[in-house]
């Protein structure tokens, strides 16, 4: 008498349903956004962990720099938040020994840097700009930022905001820029002070900076575009 055969390799049959299950996850909007947000978070985690601060964006000769009038203006909110440049102070707060309001004069006591580096936009375009200013790392040292603090949050004169990992903030090419193409920063480009981070995408390089906060944890507001779905790390 033939013994009834159990259904052959049911586990295998189940495994074959995996692609269908995968497709189902992607078709369901809530699961889908969870999956792709996780994918982006994974990308950021790998980027941050593998970041080698010794590596630098290549410097360019003056002849290779994109002409100033062809350096694009991507003002996300306003062209000019109408900061009163005479009254302007940089408010530095958080995990620092010397919090307070710093004038441009205070900041300009630090060593000046000039560099021609590539500015890459998340959209895909790039330009080579000429930037002058002081190192963000020097400013952090000046104000006695906690060595173990993890983030620098950046507040702007418009409603823009950003936040950086400390390794990038202390990278020697990361500038608080007050000068482009050898001239004082214009209002459209972020006067009086903007970030220049050759190891980050353009949207991380906030303009019209009015405040820096050194912190150990980021709140819900991590970055104007980041909070809408861009990568927080945004590293090149």
């Amino acid at each position: 008498m033939p013994v009834p055969q159990p259904p052959r390799s049911t586990r295998r049959e189940l495994l074959k349903m995996l692609p269908v299950a995968g497709a189902a996850v992607l078709l369901q909007p809530t699961w889908r956004s969870l999956v792709i947000a996780r994918g982006l978070a994974l990308s950021d985690a790998i980027s941050e962990r593998t970041f080698d601060a010794r590596l630098a964006a290549p410097p360019y000769a003056d002849a290779q720099v994109t002409p100033f009038d062809r350096f694009p203006l991507n003002s996300y909110l306003v062209d000019d938040p109408e900061i009163d440049l005479d009254e302007w102070r940089l408010e530095i707060s958080g995990l620092v020994a010397k919090p307070g309001q710093y004038t441009l004069r205070d900041l300009r006591s630090l060593p000046r840097v000039r560099q021609n580096t590539r500015h890459i936009c998340i959209e895909g375009w790039d330009v080579i700009g000429s930037f002058g200013g002081i190192r963000l790392g020097d400013v952090l040292t000046l104000v006695g930022a906690d060595q173990r603090a993890r983030f620098v949050e950046v507040m702007c004169g418009d409603d823009y905001y950003e936040s950086l990992d400390m390794a990038t903030a202390r990278h020697w090419q990361s500038l608080l820029c007050d000068e482009m193409y050898g001239r004082p920063l214009t209002r459209e480009h972020g006067a009086p002070l903007r970030l220049v981070l050759p190891t980050k995408l353009g949207y991380k390089q906030a303009k019209y900076i009015v405040g820096l906060r050194v912190s150990d944890a980021l709140g819900v507001k991590r970055g104007y575009w980041v909070d809408q779905g861009y990568s927080w790390y945004g590293g090149l």
């Binding site: 994918g39 998340i122 375009w125």
Partner: protein, 211 residues
């Protein structure tokens, strides 16, 4: 090949469908990314190329498209690493990689498909024309992954950007690799359709007469 061995080992089948899904998503989201700056030139003065039809794009906007793109890039990279490791270690790579001895067989196969030549003898899983197409497709996947990583990390991986001729040209290579894959996929689908259900099902079940 011994008769009891499956035409398509399980790892190859899993990788094949992972490639298919991730390439679909990567091409769709890549077109959305391209739509944000549809040019290979300078931002100023603008020299925009036509924007891909929105029905072909995935992600809704640049930020959404990049989330899709990164997620599936990791999936594709993982599957590619597993696939190549398996193919090389198991020796199964010979089944698919185009070798010099296959060169003679390509033209007769083309003639056969054009209905102007006799059917060549087939002794292997893949005929020489298939091997050529699959080898090029695999190469294009590798090029798109390498150029993709170079565009993602042009500072940390500047040595990867260099051989492609700089950041801007790397973007062109990345796009060109996608165009190559876009040329492969319809041909591949037509061939699958012409070869019937059993051939198609083989990529799910393993092949060799199993349903």
């Amino acid at each position: 090949m011994p008769p009891d061995r499956l035409e398509h080992p399980a790892i190859v089948r899993v990788c094949h469908w992972t490639f298919a899904l991730s390439l679909l998503v990567l091409i769709g989201s890549g077109l959305e990314v391209f739509a944000a700056f549809p040019s290979f030139g300078e931002k100023l003065p603008a020299s925009d190329l036509p924007v891909p039809l929105s029905i072909l794009r995935i992600g809704g906007w640049l930020g959404g498209a990049l989330q899709w793109h990164f997620t599936f890039a990791w999936l594709l990279a993982t599957a590619t690493a597993i696939y190549f490791t398996y193919q090389v270690v198991s020796g199964n790579a010979r089944q698919v990689l185009f070798a010099r001895r296959d060169a003679r067989g390509v033209w007769p196969m083309v003639r056969y498909y054009m209905l102007v030549g006799p059917k060549p003898d087939m002794t292997e899983t893949y005929n020489p024309l298939q091997k050529l197409a699959y080898t090029i497709a695999l190469l294009l996947i590798v090029v798109s992954l390498v150029t993709g990583f170079a565009l993602y990390k042009p500072v940390q991986l500047s040595w990867l950007v260099y051989p492609f001729g700089g950041f801007r040209l790397t973007r062109v290579w990345h796009f060109a690799a996608m165009c190559g894959l876009l040329a492969f996929i319809p041909g591949h689908l037509v061939m699958v359709a012409l070869h019937g259900w059993c051939n198609f099902a083989g990529m799910w079940t393993g092949g060799r007469g199993r349903p």
